[in-house]
């Protein structure tokens, strides 16, 4: 039983990847995202300098052979800071995803499956939170709870989950009256095991597309928090706060702010391209 489903599944998965790679834009997007993740993971090995070592004599140097992207106001190598800066920025995005998606899925699947007053209460809350302004509430949250990576992530999770809850509920509602689920129930599969093994897999494709679309937004919000000084504490390099440092010398040494901002732009552009490609592939269990 299990071997037959596996042998069916594997080529199907490769087929989707193959179709995704046929679109040049999606391939480019995936490559950008992959590259950014690799840079973040390999930072200590590929960065030419220590990102926190200051050299006041070498401050605000334009790009040169030693410092490929120049140096910042404290003489730190900008390329190294850019490479290390990928870590908190992408880390925050990852943290938000890890927390947001499960919350949304649980709320959506439970309310779709249980129905009745549970559904009405949960979806009522979802609709209310969905109408909240995400960025401003995140700012207020971090401002009042104190800056930092964890608080930044929590702030974005707080208002981020409803979109996934709605999606998961819609998918679950389609399944609720299906023979497939009735068959599973008749085999004695109930409760959490039913939801985990039989409902969840059907929700994932739609959630995956939505997530890809959302990554760029999370990334920009994370950079915005960093820019306002609400992200990781200095001297840790982070793209948003690097733009803020560069803004002090924007009229004379514009490249200090330009490169981290370009990194944010390229990454979120990559996320957007990838999302577009995934969406064009469509909903696999319908098309």
């Amino acid at each position: 039983m299990s071997t037959s489903t596996e042998s069916l599944e594997v080529p199907l998965r490769f087929e989707r990847t193959r179709r995704l790679l046929r679109s040049p834009e999606a391939t480019f997007g995936a490559a950008v995202v992959l590259l950014a993740v690799l840079v973040a993971l390999l930072a200590p090995w590929i960065a030419p300098f220590d990102p926190s070592v200051q050299d006041i004599g070498q401050r605000l140097q334009p790009p040169s052979a030693t410092h490929l992207l120049g140096t910042d106001g404290l003489g730190r190598d900008l390329l190294s800071r850019l490479i290390y800066g990928a870590r908190p920025t992408l880390g925050l995005v990852a943290l938000v995803v890890i927390l947001t998606v499960p919350i949304g899925l649980i709320v959506g699947i439970v309310s779709g499956y249980c129905g009745g007053w549970i559904e009405r209460v949960l979806m009522g809350i979802t609709d209310i939170v969905m109408a909240f302004p995400q960025l401003v509430l995140a700012l207020a949250f971090v401002g009042l709870m104190g800056p930092g990576l964890i608080n930044g992530a929590l702030a974005l999770v707080l208002t981020g989950w409803p979109a996934y809850a709605r999606l998961a509920r819609t998918e679950t509602l389609i399944l609720r009256r299906s023979d497939y689920l009735a068959a599973a129930e008749m085999q004695g599969i109930t409760g959490a095991r039913l939801l985990w093994g039989h409902v969840l897999p059907f929700c994932l494709p739609a959630v995956q597309i939505r997530l890809a679309l959302n990554l760029a937004t999370i990334m920009l919000a994370a950079a915005g928090l960093g820019f306002l000084g609400l992200g990781v504490r200095p001297p840790t390099a982070e793209w948003g706060s690097m733009i803020a440092e560069g803004s002090k010398v924007i009229f004379d040494q514009w490249w200090v702010a330009a490169t981290p901002g370009a990194a944010v732009l390229i990454c979120s552009f990559g996320f957007n391209l990838l999302a577009d490609g995934l969406r064009d592939l469509g909903d696999p269990h319908r098309g």
């Binding site: 809350i125 109408a131 302004p133 995400q134 207020a140 760029a216 306002l228 901002g261 732009l265 979120s268």
Partner: protein, 332 residues
């Protein structure tokens, strides 16, 4: 019935918003009583401050008091300006309103135009270019774009005015009864004031609009393509209607509902996006007030500013729902 439901949803959403902001302040590690009396106060005066602020009450009681105070328009006193927060907000709101509204107009005109153009020949060259452009618009961090635009168009090329709403020469000579810089500069009759106001507005308006344009373009294009394949369009074409006529009198009326929602949501997100844009352009609006309050740890100002933006956001969201229902009988 639909209206009753809409109002009930609106009321519930606003209560939810109040609960969220209240719990932020209740859970915050910042102790307002300690802020009030200072680090070296005696235990007795600290306890008295706590009692005066109502912090010794259980949370439900505190929340009730918070709502009652809000209902009286009392948002507390800002620690950094020393003024009541409600007065501060009244002073700074018009600047944000002006910025967001002008950006909205730009985003709507450009976005709908580009969306229609892109849908003209789906997957054509023009469509691809517009698609990539709108994706870039969606991906760019506005605060960074603002900084670079200031560097290039203000510092290097000197085409536009710098940060702030007016040149220094006019800054203190013009009073601002409406708080809208274009209106006040025009009414003041001072030579060159209006020009200065426009020169300072151009950049923040365009930068703020840049994010929204992508959004509006994509959704307009999707709505257009969705309609263009329908039978009534084929019929109109078969009867010999020109493409322009099909677009203006057949397709556009059918996507008005969608466009209204898109534009309303865009407006809400522009109000929010103004926070970062204003910080970059030293624009004395709600966003800058909020970020200044964040740095000062000014809890009443943070909560007041968040509530005002939040309420506008919620109102516009719900209004969009209602408008769409009224305009488009199909989604009633």
């Amino acid at each position: 019935m639909a209206y009753v439901r809409a109002i009930a949803t609106l009321a519930l959403t606003l209560v939810g918003l109040l609960l969220v902001t209240f719990s932020f302040s209740a859970l915050s590690p910042v102790d307002p009583a300690l802020q009030l009396v200072g680090d070296h106060a005696s235990k007795a005066s600290y306890e008295k401050a706590r009692h005066d602020l109502g912090l010794d009450q259980p949370w439900p009681v505190q929340f009730e008091r918070y709502v009652v105070r809000l209902a009286h328009g009392d948002l507390g006193t800002s620690r950094s300006t020393g003024q009541p927060v409600s007065d501060d907000l009244k002073r700074v709101f018009p600047a944000t309103f002006e910025l967001a509204t002008l950006s909205m107009i730009v985003a709507a005109l450009v976005g709908v135009g580009l969306g229609v153009l892109a849908a003209w020949r789906p997957s054509g060259a023009l469509d691809s270019v517009i698609r990539i452009l709108s994706l870039v618009g969606n991906s760019v961090p506005v605060f960074w774009l603002g900084l670079l635009a200031l560097m290039l168009f203000y510092a290097r090329l000197q085409w536009v005015g710098g940060p702030g709403r007016l040149d220094d020469a006019y800054e203190y000579t013009i009073d601002m009864p409406t708080g809208l810089v274009l209106v006040d500069a025009w009414r003041s009759g001072v030579q060159g004031a209006l020009g200065s106001a426009i020169a300072h507005l151009v950049l923040p308006v365009l930068v703020l609009a840049s994010n929204a344009v992508g959004q509006v373009t994509r959704l307009t294009r999707a709505a257009m393509i969705g309609e263009a394949g329908k039978e009534y369009v084929t019929l109109a074409r078969a009867k010999g209607a020109g493409e322009a006529r099909i677009l203006v009198s057949h397709i556009l009326p059918n996507i008005t509902g969608v466009l209204v929602i898109v534009l309303a949501l865009t407006y809400a997100s522009l109000l929010e996006g103004a926070v970062l844009t204003e910080t970059v352009f030293a624009w004395p609006g709600l966003g800058r007030y909020l970020t200044t309050a964040l740095f000062a740890g000014d809890t009443p100002a943070i909560l007041g500013g968040t509530l005002l933006i939040g309420c506008c956001f919620v109102f516009i969201n719900r209004l969009a729902d209602l408008l769409a229902r009224t305009l488009d009988p199909r989604i009633r």
